[in-house]
């Protein structure tokens, strides 16, 4: 059997080498389609991941906060005199209450022990004015835990100058790029801020931040959570948001409901907060799947055509082989192996070329305001595309060889020999 296999491989290799030019053309067809598939899929997926990342990296999977809203229970409801009446109260005002999450430290401790949670980062937001000469600029200072914020939400990707870690120093701030430009301040400069309560503090600029959204960059600034709490004159339990990142993004809505019930806070999951993002992301995935499949199908037909032609040119040889003792099965094996050799060689070169094409794409400049740290087009180098590419090359060339080989195996040598 191995003897036969060796003989058959020997015959098909000789046939391929005898018409080297034609074989190379067939191989190049395979190479080109595999290369295009790998480069395009990697490119499309790289872009998709980048776009998804714009939202996913910055947004907590679940945000726990305290909404200011009117109390559901009004004193009148408790009065026995009105128990059997329908009560109408208009224009209820929210009760005076801090926007902080109640028992935030306790909740954080509980979340840290939860195995479904990847990490948590506390945040305290403060409305402030930046005092520039005679003008007060509106601003929001987000008090964050710099290390956690960077780990979970890649904060440093958006810090265009200075360093995130300098935030750990007391009374330091990272300004939104818009804010910094308006005040004409640079790293190391001091800015004066006034809180809503009228307290004034001097903060040192240690960096600038650019999200790509001008509205945000004109307002948002970052300081450490301690600095912010001090600014507000509150203790370390003044936390307005607990941002939760999960291991499994899909479980966010269910967990949000669970946390809301368990901790008696408002919980907003990423799917609800960014419904339009889900739609966009899905549509992009569908488009890239369709493009990949179409690419593969078109490539498959090309390969099939070339091999079919190659086999029709060998009809005489088939007749001779059969007349000299080779069976239909041998002939089929010869043509399938002929096809598979083209598939393996063309596919292997295609993988390498695809890799180089991907590298090429990943060096094309791509500057965008939205992503200050991205300088070139993103490409996904995941092995998945290479595996699919190889499997595809093998399967297509096998099938492309199988049908003509099947026909060849049934060819009646007499018809061809006498047809001359």
């Amino acid at each position: 059997m191995t003897m036969d296999l060796k003989l058959i491989l020997g015959i098909s290799t000789t046939m391929l080498l005898a018409r080297l030019k034609q074989s190379v053309v067939a191989g190049v067809g395979v190479t080109f389609s595999i290369m295009m598939y790998i480069a395009l899929s990697g490119f499309m997926n790289g872009l998709n991941e980048l776009l998804d990342g714009l939202i996913l990296n910055r947004t907590p999977h679940i945000r726990l906060y305290n909404e200011i809203e009117p109390s559901e229970d009004q004193p009148l409801d408790l009065a026995p005199d009105f128990a059997d009446r329908t009560v109408f109260i208009s224009r209820i005002k929210p009760k005076a209450e801090l926007t902080r999450v109640r028992n935030a430290l306790g909740i954080m401790q509980a979340l840290e022990k939860d195995e479904r949670v990847l990490g948590i980062a506390a945040k305290t937001t403060a409305q402030v004015f930046f005092n520039v000469g005679t003008i007060d600029l509106n601003g929001v200072i987000n008090g964050i835990q710099p290390a956690e914020e960077d780990r979970l939400f890649r904060f440093s990707d958006y810090v265009v100058s200075g360093s995130v870690h300098d935030l750990n120093a007391v009374n330091s701030v990272i300004l939104g790029k818009g804010v910094a430009d308006k005040m004409q301040v640079d790293l190391g400069d001091m800015v004066q801020v006034t809180t809503a309560d009228g307290q004034r503090t001097m903060l040192k600029v240690v960096g600038t931040y650019q999200s790509g959204l001008a509205d945000l960059d004109n307002v948002q600034c970052y300081a450490s959570i301690k600095t912010t709490q001090k600014l507000l004159g509150r203790g370390n339990d003044m936390i307005t948001d607990i941002q939760v990142k999960l291991h499994d993004l899909a479980s966010a809505p269910a967990l949000a409901r669970e946390f809301a019930r368990k901790f008696d806070v408002e919980a907003l999951d990423i799917q609800t907060a960014n419904a339009q993002f889900e739609t966009g992301s899905n549509v992009r995935s569908i488009i890239s799947y369709v493009v990949s499949v179409v690419l593969l199908i078109v490539a498959g037909f090309g390969i099939y055509n070339i091999l079919n032609m190659l086999i029709y040119e060998k009809l005489d040889s088939i007749a001779i082989l059969k007349a000299t003792g080779f069976s239909g099965g041998d002939v089929r094996a010869i043509f399938i192996s002929l096809s598979m050799i083209i598939g393996v060689c063309g596919g292997a070169v295609g993988l390498v070329m695809g890799y180089f094409a991907s590298i090429g794409i990943s060096h094309i400049p791509f500057e965008t305001e939205a992503l200050p740290t991205i300088k070139t087009y993103p490409v996904d180098f995941s092995g998945r595309y290479y595996l699919i590419g190889v499997a595809f090359a093998l399967v297509t060339t096998y099938i492309a060889g199988l049908f003509p080989a099947q026909r060849a195996s049934r060819i009646d040598p007499v018809e061809i020999i006498r047809g001359k």
Partner: protein
């Protein structure tokens, strides 16, 4: 028993073509070829002699009647068995040389033996070389099959037909495409091979001079054997 079996025997072989109109090409043809015999088949064009030859070669299985090769009936054998039987017992020489153009002369001769697997590759190469030398084309062994002359190609085809030591060599006008000088060379080679002993020859030909020099000439006419030649 097998000592007296003819190499090849047909019993009432008939064949009908249905396309484009139904024509019976062979009508109950019965004859046999003995060991060492050199038989030629003659007849007008269209009398069915080539059709008969391809049935005898086991390549054409679509016929009625019975074909016995070396005393064994081929009726009901599947194609794989037949191709094995063919490579063991029959050598075939076509009117056109029919060599594989991609391969060297030597490789062309070796392929049927490599397929049969009776000997290892080195032994096969040795035997192929021996046969090429007998046919005086040993010096062409390493050339590509499409680089040698017509007469040489036909001799390569004969060497290929001989590689598995077949019981019978069949030829479909093996000299039909050659000039008289090359024709004579090929005839002498075939004659010599059958004279050696056990090996039989069965050759379809138009060439009367060729036929006259064989042991026996079967004449066919309109699908029947008109003269068994003995």
């Amino acid at each position: 028993m097998s000592q007296i079996d003819p190499v090849l025997e047909t019993r009432k072989v008939s064949k009908t073509f249905h396309d484009p109109v139904t024509v019976q090409v062979l009508k109950e043809v019965s004859f046999s070829v003995e060991r060492g015999e050199f038989v030629s088949i003659m007849g007008k064009s269209g009398c069915g002699k080539s059709t008969l030859l391809y049935i005898l070669s086991t390549m054409d299985t679509d016929f009625q009647g019975e074909l016995l090769l070396d005393g064994k009936s081929t009726t009901g054998m599947d194609r794989d068995h037949l191709s094995r039987l063919r490579s063991e017992k029959i050598g075939f020489v076509f009117q056109f040389h029919y060599l594989l153009p991609e391969f060297s002369v030597l490789r062309n001769v070796m392929l049927p033996a490599l397929k049969l697997g009776r000997y290892g590759p080195e032994e096969v190469e040795h035997r192929a070389m021996e046969r090429l030398k007998i046919l005086e084309i040993g010096d062409q062994a390493l050339k590509r099959a499409n680089q040698i002359s017509g007469g040489q190609k036909q001799r390569v085809a004969i060497a290929r037909a001989l590689i598995n030591d077949p019981l019978i060599i069949m030829g479909d006008e093996p000299t039909g495409n050659l000039d008289s000088k090359n024709s004579d060379i090929v005839f002498d080679i075939l004659r010599g091979l059958s004279a050696e002993g056990e090996r039989s020859m069965l050759v379809v030909t138009h060439d009367e001079d060729f036929a006259k020099r064989t042991d026996r000439t079967i004449v066919m006419d309109d699908g029947r054997i008109a003269d068994h030649g003995r």
